[in-house]
Symmetry: C2
Subunit: 207 residues, 2 copies
Amino acid sequence: MEFGIRLRSVFSVVVFLLYIESSAYGRVLSNSKPDRKNVVASARWLVAENTWGVLSTVSGDLRGAPWGNVVSFSDGIPGKGTGIPYFYLTTLDVTARNALKDPRASLAISEKPIGTCTKDPMDPTCAKLTLTGKLLPLKQGSEEAKVAEKALFAKHPEMIGWPKSHDFQFFKLEICHIFLLNWYGGPKLITVQEYLNAKPIKPVSSL
Amino acid sequence: MEFGIRLRSVFSVVVFLLYIESSAYGRVLSNSKPDRKNVVASARWLVAENTWGVLSTVSGDLRGAPWGNVVSFSDGIPGKGTGIPYFYLTTLDVTARNALKDPRASLAISEKPIGTCTKDPMDPTCAKLTLTGKLLPLKQGSEEAKVAEKALFAKHPEMIGWPKSHDFQFFKLEICHIFLLNWYGGPKLITVQEYLNAKPIKPVSSL
């Protein structure tokens, strides 16, 4: 009897710790990854689930070198993403300065930070996406700047407190080309129209 | 007395689970991050501890756009890294093709995948690094190609089994410029010489 009670208390602790674990690493345990054959959903899922990537611009300082920079982004509030990546950048940083001189840019993201890929990041089954286009500042107070603000502040609440004096502005990547690799057999063809018309990805918590 | 025994058994389970946790997420609990004031060690640590990043090249297909691609890399076997990023690329993939036409390239990496940053990936305390230079193929069978092979296969054992028919080659980034942000106050100045002369970063397991 006493043994039974002790077992139960141990069991409770295990369940409690597993609960904490599943909260902290929820995205690993609840896998929302779309079927690989649905390439449009796969691309939109990578953008909806990732919160940061590398934004490359043409370097003004380094003779036009393709210059990547780690940035946070958001394509919308969870469950209502549009697929368009928005950014909160300051001209104190090189990327925004580069873009204002030459808007050509790309955003590269990996499945790895989402937690669903157990293979090497370069294995073709570990999905990766590069969106190429123009990195454009949004007019202050415009409708799209408000959309960008909601999108970014929902996924990056720390941004709300970033210093006003640093003159952060909202930018978007106007997508012209999509490169997706999510299985063997080379990159998958997706048009920008197909990508933008796809329905929003449901966040894991609602599945 | 009985209560004491029960408490002890619960405590044992907690300790055991924390042990499992620390093994699985060891890099989070055993923090090898250098002092932020040691900017050279900080840069070398980001390269030694990360296994993937975004390699940007000048796109031949997309009118010279700066084109980022998720890639695996290694700067050496753990504890003996040189700071030079090596890659295992195939001309079936766009990045290698771009580099063979125009070697200008950059590698951007974040502290985020290492697991030591709890802030937003764009917060200045969440370290990030961009190495800019030339992406060069290494002569097959050369001493440096052997160094690259050892470096890459040690950190990416899956690469050993990648199809021979895909004609993978070893490449390196010959670094010309270093951008590090690891605290408030803008990017830190590091010369390529300082960076390459620094001593190798010890892996977490040996600390």
